[in-house]
């Protein structure tokens, strides 16, 4: 488990798919991370408990994996902290406005063949590629 291969990527992806499936059956909703988290910030959300529990589980599962496997714990920061803060603001605003992130649109929506999610996923991947091109080749 300590040498990263594309098998790790595939197996990790399968786990993400299974987790999303389980959370869908349990909640009756599409469990995209941005929606699960974002709705915790709305006072009127009636089902806050499972959202919080699910996200604590996510953080706990990641913490355990970081500790258990060297390849999982690999973290290579790429950007200055001020850029990370701006990126966070944009990711939060954009995912809620666009109705989903890499999990809600990218995994669940695309998995169900939903046209809106396929469009959203293409848009955020292409936009992100353009920004990385600009940042890596023009800014730096």
């Amino acid at each position: 488990m300590n040498h990263y291969t594309l098998w790790h990527a595939l197996i990790g992806g399968i786990l993400i798919g299974l987790a999303s499936l389980l959370a869908t059956v349990l909640s009756g909703k599409i469990p995209g991370i941005s929606g699960v988290f974002g709705r915790l910030l709305v006072a009127a959300t009636p089902d806050k408990a499972w959202r919080a529990v699910f996200l604590f589980g996510l953080i706990g599962g990641a913490a355990l994996s970081f500790a258990l496997w060297q390849s999982a714990g690999l973290f290579r920061p790429m950007r200055p902290l001020v850029v990370m803060a701006i990126a966070g603001l944009l990711v939060g605003f954009g995912t809620r406005l666009g109705g989903g992130c890499t999990s809600g649109h990218g995994v669940c929506g695309v998995g169900m063949g939903a046209k809106d999610s396929i469009a959203a996923t293409l848009i955020f991947i292409v936009t992100a590629m353009m920004i990385v091109f600009i940042y890596n080749r023009v800014v730096l």
Binding site: T24, L26, G38, F54, G106
Partner: protein
């Protein structure tokens, strides 16, 4: 809600976080490596998506075929591709490309108390709050 169900939600979250960490998606260099088509391109994110989309798509297909009335599944009807979806997804893409974090990996990195995540997550919460409060995002 029953305690048993809450335990299962915790397990689902735990599996999600484990998947993110094993897949290497919590490492911003790997995510940006995928997004950087003109650099040393890293295909890992494509394999993660293939595994996740495949399992979820197949699983949902099987669950819908079961036609179990006790099973409450989300509506398969997609939302319209409107301006909110297009503009929102593009803004998300800008943030994703800038930081190499999307919401899941950012939260997962709280599990290692990484300063990038400790900054990114509160900023993300502010962004979400603004979209929901002032732009009618739901």
């Amino acid at each position: 809600m029953k305690a048993g169900k809450m335990i299962l939600f915790f397990v689902a979250g735990g599996l999600f976080g484990t998947g993110l960490a094993i897949s290497g998606m919590t490492d911003p260099a790997r995510v940006i490596g995928f997004l950087d088509l003109f650099g040393a391109w890293d295909p890992a994110l494509l394999f993660v998506m293939a595994g996740a989309v495949g399992v979820y798509g197949l699983g949902m297909l099987m669950l819908r075929r079961m036609k179990n009335r006790d099973l409450k599944l989300p509506s398969p009807t997609p939302s319209p591709i409107d301006r909110q979806l297009i503009v929102g997804s593009a803004i998300f893409g800008v943030g994703w490309g800038l930081g190499g974090f999307c919401p899941g990996p950012a939260l997962a990195n709280l599990g290692a108390l990484r300063v990038e995540a400790l900054l990114f997550v509160p900023a993300m919460a502010i962004g979400m709050f603004l979209a929901q409060r002032f732009f009618g995002a739901d």
